[in-house]
Amino acid sequence: MRLALAGGELILLPEHAVLEPVTRSLLVADLHLGKGLSFRARGLNVPAGSTALTLERLTRLLDHHQPAALLILGDLLHDAHARHPAVLERLSAWRHAYQGLEVSLLTGNHDRHAGALPESCGIRAAGAELNLGAWTLRHDDGEGGRGFTIAGHVHPKVRIVAGIDAMVRPCFWLRERSLVIPAFGAMTGGWRVRPVGAERVFISTGAAVLDVTAAAQATSLRRRSSRSLNRTW
């Protein structure tokens, strides 16, 4: 879905990523690589496979769009446990398949905990903030003072309702001065947002991204008080 904003155009991709067409930059956030491994290292049994799946999805996306740059909006690794040789090797192997691609990582709260990536990963540490055209890229849209921010961090999800039907899905959350993008990682939870005022929300059907603001603001028919339906005999 093409999103026309004051700073230019952004393309919201059904794979939970954003494409900036002018610089051909691909934006993803919150991969949380090594999360399963981190859980296992601390005695919680989680089957392996999520990190591989996340990187596979990223590979498919890169092959399809052939961007000039990949910008990761923070939380590449889940935590210090995730900074494990097994994860780093997998990450490097993936990186080496894309020699020409510039990959930058904005520091997210989880990255701070995980510590700096080894150089062999070939991922540029971009600090807390990065400018891309008219946009400011950050991990967290919270304190953005200047211009329009594109961020991740909260893993937004939204509940949409229509009549008898309802569902909760990850979403893109367009706010007054920011766009918050959904988590890209295969093992990530979410935080439910409720669009207010002029805010908009978009969800992916797998094949397309749709604006579901109206359905997110609708209230279920069943929310009516039973009193209004109640009658006496």
Binding site: L44, V46, D79, H81, G163, D165, A166, T205, V212, W233
Partner: protein, 858 residues
């Protein structure tokens, strides 16, 4: 326990102290060992007579047997077993813990401790009975480990924590008796399995400890005994029953204005106030904590002069507040206590004269249990009065009374080898002093729950905790248990040990937030999801008062008294109890009887409003007389649901197209049935249905009109392929995902935030739904997933009952009745807010339809 037996005179008691006990070595060790004469004298000093069943218990206990005492509350079974345990002591004054008393509810522990401690001093035993629950301070816990009391009163969870202590063997080294109180509360649950495993650990110590259970009325006491002692045999002792309790109903005064649906019952306020006014002390049982809060407020509003004379009691209130209420109840200072199941059990409060039950008690056993909380004065009779919250509950009350009279009580099904509890137990055992595989397997197999545990399941559970998964895909980074040089599996990591201790147990509740006033005092706890919806400044009612949220941080909600009157009532999720099949069948009996004594002609449509109790003969029951006009209306708008025909009603509203089906199979089976029907309907044509269920029937709501043919031809309601359709339907309805929460929590996968805890634990938190998705994607054969699925089948959806229901329906004619307005049976389903959804539409089509709907509405 505190009941005085009017029948036993002191003279009889004196006779009775010749208790025909043959106590080994009594003569040799007269100085140390307690003898039966002392017990007889104590009974006499209380003005009580030793009853024959108590003597039988003492004899059995002294000869080293294990067993179960099966009796109503107030029959003196606590003293029977406690004195039996004292008689077993070779020397009550020797150091060491000798008696362990397990009680299912923390709230009961205080009273139980007091009841057990009372006779000790008169009997000349200078030892203590102490508590060990989650309320016990850490200083006291460590003191108990250093200097154990004579007896310890504890809960299943605290017992598991005890056997997870490194020094547990020495702590229990002199244990001679374990008593499991209120065993009927535990037997059908995972907590019961947890107790079985812990008991087997204690038996394995070789101290020869006897295990005795206490239980209220059970449908199958022999099975309960076998589950408790882990093998056939053991001693079943029944106490004589007291007089049968009275079960009656508060008939609404304005019965024709009584609502068809609802669950609060607030219309009955005036009548309830009058009843409370007439009785000395009453218990008012509510089914939920929120309902109890509301009723407490209403009673105070109606009678401001009762401030201080009525009180509130539920599980989320702070311990001190609960204890104050219990003490005041015992002394007769209170006129009424509005309570939840927290006062179902425990030591009887002699002053309680009346019990009111707001709304359906859902089961015969629970109703009898609650009735038994009253009438403990000499010559008193227990009485429970049902206060209906909607009209159909009038029918339920009559049904409950009949089922109770004919002793049709719900059976407890003991659980068979839940793998999540086993996984938890393996870590508990490793935390204790470690385990050796073969030894622990033998011990686990000695329990009833795991007597048929096969090698593969054992291996799987072991691999799951040792290497993180099946042997084929071991994870080198996985760490939970390590093998020590002596070959024992242990927990090495302090953080893992701490987390396991904090999340031990099988009660799966939502994360609780501790509620504290600004001066720091604790008020109680509410669920995180409730407080999470409030913003600072919002008001809510809790513990009988209105509070304003000041801030919510680190799982603590700081509040001050609210000025505003408008406030949300705190909500706790809790599961909705299904109506038992015993009660549902009894209801159908009532309807059956009504339609058989009433000539068919009276069901013919007629004009004018229905008037009470004319054409439908209430068979002499006041409830049926009262509900007569409503049933008449049901018959006029549609039909009365009876056994011979399956009634299906069809209606169109602005919400969409409804069908209402009334199999009377209970809420659990209805959810399964509705899911199967929705799935079968949506198989030929993708659709999404909204499903509502209650104990009488279910509703399917769809966007397209329903074709009557598949309903009446028997095609939809066929038992053929039931299991595979149910499985497919259930997966489509996302029910497994929700069910996985319990399994994941017990198996130690969910890490919850706790009051006062900083964010450090957050990186380890993930929702059960996320775990479910990751397992389904990367480890679909995982046995925890399989267990969640089979629990959903057997317990939540009641698959056997669904099959029985469909088979019964197979040859039955179906009445497919179009209705213009909701009938009395349909209406409660229409306004039911807890709904399930089942969809076979592709995601993009479903979203497209939802968006189209939203745009139409906009």
């Amino acid at each position: 326990m505190s009941r005085r037996y009017a029948t036993g005179t002191v003279a009889e008691a004196a006779d009775a102290q010749v208790v025909e006990l043959e106590l080994p070595h009594a003569a040799q060790r007269a100085g140390a060992r307690l003898d039966s004469d002392a017990l007889g004298r104590w009974f006499m000093s209380q003005g009580w007579a030793v009853q024959p069943f108590q003597r039988r218990v003492w004899r059995a206990m002294c000869s080293g047997e294990s067993g179960l005492v099966h009796a109503q509350t107030g029959s003196g079974k606590t003293l029977a077993v406690w004195f039996g345990a004292l008689l077993r002591l070779s020397d009550p004054h020797s150091a060491g813990l000798q008696v362990l008393w397990i009680t299912p509810m923390r709230a009961l522990a205080t009273d139980t401790r007091a009841a057990l401690a009372a006779p000790l001093a008169p009997l000349g035993i200078a030892r203590e009975v102490e508590l060990r629950t989650s309320d016990t301070s850490s200083a006291q816990r460590s003191r108990q480990l250093r200097k154990p009391p004579l007896a310890l009163v504890t809960t299943p969870e605290s017992l598991s924590l005890l056997i997870a202590q490194p020094q547990w063997r020495s702590f229990f080294a002199s244990l001679s008796t374990v008593v499991v109180d209120e065993w009927h509360e535990l037997i059908g649950s995972k907590r019961g399995v947890q107790v079985q495993l812990a008991l087997q650990r204690l038996r394995g110590l070789g101290t020869g400890c006897a295990v005795w259970g206490l239980s209220a009325t059970l449908a199958r006491p022999e099975e309960a005994l076998e589950v408790l002692v882990g093998r056939p045999g053991g001693c079943l002792i029944r106490a004589p029953n007291r007089r049968a309790p009275i079960i009656d109903t508060m008939i609404p005064e304005a019965v024709e204005r009584f609502p068809w649906a609802g669950h609060l019952g607030t219309r009955m306020l005036g009548q309830v106030v009058r009843e409370l006014d007439a009785a000395s002390t009453s218990l008012v049982f509510c089914n939920t904590r929120a309902q109890a809060e509301i009723w407490y407020q209403l009673l105070l509003d109606a009678r401001p002069d009762w401030a201080g004379l009525i009180a509130l009691h539920h599980g989320s209130l702070d311990r001190e507040a609960r204890q104050w209420v219990e003490q005041s109840l015992g002394t007769g200072r209170l006129r009424a206590v509005v309570c939840t199941s927290t006062l179902d059990l425990g030591v009887d409060f002699a002053p309680v004269e009346r019990v009111l039950q707001i709304g359906s008690a859902k089961g015969v056993a629970r109703l009898l249990q609650r009735a038994g909380r009253s009438g403990h004065r000499p010559g008193g009779v227990s009485r429970v009065t049902l206060v209906p919250t909607h009209a159909l509950e009038l029918l339920e009350a009559a049904a409950a009374r009949e089922a109770a009279a004919s002793r049709r009580i719900e059976p407890h099904r003991a659980l068979e080898q839940p793998i999540d509890v086993l996984v938890q137990h393996l870590v508990t055992a490793a935390l204790g002093d470690g385990f050796v595989e073969a030894e622990l397997l033998a011990e686990v197999r000695a329990t009833h729950a795991y007597r048929n545990l096969d090698e593969a399941s054992w291996r799987w559970a072991l691999d799951f905790v040792i290497q993180g998964g099946e042997s084929l895909k071991a994870y080198p980074e996985y760490r939970k248990l390590v093998r020590d040089p002596g070959g024992r599996w242990r927990v090495s990591d302090a953080a893992i040990a701490r987390r396991h201790r904090m999340s031990m147990g099988t009660i799966v509740a939502e994360a609780e937030v501790s509620v504290r006033a600004m001066n720091g005092s604790r008020i109680g706890s509410v669920e995180e999801s409730f407080i999470g919806r409030l913003s600072p400044g919002d008001a809510f009612v809790f513990a009988g008062r209105a509070w304003e949220l000041v801030r919510f941080r680190d799982m603590e909600a700081w509040v001050r008294r609210a000025k505003s009157e408008r406030a949300a009532v705190s909500r706790w999720a809790g599961s909705r109890m299904p109506l038992s099949s015993e009660l549902a069948q009894s209801m159908l009996d009532q309807l059956e009887r009504l339609s058989s004594v009433t000539p068919a002609a009276s069901f013919a449509p007629r004009r004018g409003p229905a008037r009470s109790g004319h054409s439908l003969d209430g068979c002499g029951s006041p409830e049926l007389d009262a509900i007569g006009p409503l049933l008449e209306l049901q018959a006029r708008r549609s039909r009365l649901p009876v056994r011979a025909h399956l009634l299906i009603e069809q209606m169109t509203s602005r919400e969409g197209h409804h069908v209402f089906v009334y199999p009377f199979a209970g809420r659990a089976a209805h959810l399964g049935l509705a899911s199967v029907l929705a799935f079968r309907l949506a198989r030929s044509k993708p659709a999404t249905f909204s499903i509502a269920v209650n104990d009488y029937g279910f509703e399917l709501l769809g966007a397209e009109p329903f074709d009557p043919v598949p309903f009446t031809s028997g095609e939809l309601l066929s038992p053929v392929d039931l299991e595979s359709d149910l499985m497919a339907a259930v997966n489509a309805a996302e029910l497994v995902r929700r069910r996985f929460r319990e399994t994941a929590r017990i198996a130690g996968l969910l890490v919850q935030g706790r009051p006062g805890e900083r964010r450090s634990a957050r990186a380890l938190q993930a929702s059960a739904g996320l775990f479910h998705d990751v397992f389904t994607r990367h480890d679909p054969e995982n046995r925890l997933l399989a267990q969640a699925r089979s629990e959903l089948f057997e317990r939540e959806l009641d698959a056997p009952r669904i099959r029985a229901c469909l088979e019964a329906l197979a040859g039955q004619p179906v009445d497919f009745v179009p209705i213009e307005r909701p009938t009395p049976f349909a209406f409660p389903l229409m306004v039911e807010r807890l709904r399930e959804r089942l969809s076979t539409e592709a995601l993009d089509e479903r979203i497209a339809r939802m968006l189209a709907h939203a745009e139409r509405g906009a």
